[in-house]
Symmetry: C2
Subunit: 189 residues, 2 copies
């Protein structure tokens, strides 16, 4: 059921780095994103898959992790992502990608979760450094980086009271406060 | 399997308007969107559910339909959406909703498809008119309208050659050309 997938699809930031991902598996997830809705059906999004260990290691320092966990500098080496999908907009196709990026990345992550993996949308990216590292041509604008792997952490959903900042408890469980349904529904007619 | 859901989740613009949707059913879909990833976990999105027939009728003229089908003025009365979800950003929470809208709407539409319904993300919306009609306060910015109902059309995915414009054949089947996988993958390392 979709509900199970969505509940399981948390933003995972710590992974079992000994469990690798084959590019072909990630391709099958992107193949789903390819079939999703796109504003004016322009489909300007492109995807770079990185599974090479060395290259993953070079991308890692250009990513920012979990802004609210100010004491945490991101996953330690044995818990780093084993793959990345760099999500790009091809400006030769369109300057406007509407909300295609969210649609596509949600689809990729749900597919990853279905296959027993998981990931996190990273928005805090040194885009120029990553673009240079991957030798991306200028017309491909880096939008997001998806960090991927086999999750090595427990993430639980709490009901938000006032504060929506995620946090970790003494057992290292990651808590994410989500606003209750009655707070996000503003009208029913 | 997620693949089946994603393949079935087409942008439907014609519906069996005699088959209604209860607000509670739509609420269960929004409850999934509520649990999805949100930039900085801010969760600024809010949702207005409209199932009232009269109000749906008033919203309809403020929507633009299928830009590439220039001869088609949108669904005729027996094929109009039976419900709308108006997706809003609460500016008192955040001015930036990142790609939360795509993530949330993809989740809602996948949930709708799983329940035998479907819909379409409508971006061509007379936002000020719809906002006034629903008496939305100024801090709620209208982002998108989801048109919902029981699909009454067949939508097929083709492999895009050069043209990505969707079209309808002589049997009234809606064709959507999607770029092939090798075109959207720009690098594999």
């Amino acid at each position: 059921m979709l509900r199970d997938l969505i509940e399981k699809n948390r933003s995972y930031r710590r992974f079992k780095s000994e469990i690798k991902l084959r590019p072909e598996q990630i391709e099958s997830w992107i193949d789903l994103a390819r079939l999703t809705a796109s504003g004016r059906n322009m489909q300007p999004l492109k995807y770079a898959i990185v599974t090479d260990e060395k290259l993953c290691g070079k991308i890692f320092p250009f990513l920012g992790w979990a802004g609210y966990l100010s004491d945490w500098k991101g996953p330690a080496e044995p818990e780093r992502p084993v793959a990345y999908v760099v999500v790009l907009k091809d400006r030769l196709i369109s300057e406007n990608h509407y909300c295609d990026d969210g649609i596509a990345m949600q689809s990729i992550l749900l597919a990853a979760v279905e296959d027993g993996f998981g990931g996190c949308i990273v928005g805090s990216v040194n885009k120029s450094k990553v673009s240079r590292l991957l030798e991306l041509p200028a017309h491909l604008e880096l939008l997001w980086v998806l960090a991927l792997g086999k999750p090595a952490e427990e993430v639980v959903i709490d009901t938000a009271q006032d504060d929506i900042k995620y946090w970790r408890d003494e057992k290292d469980i990651h808590h994410v406060p989500k606003r209750p349904l009655n707070e996000v529904l503003i009208l029913k007619k």
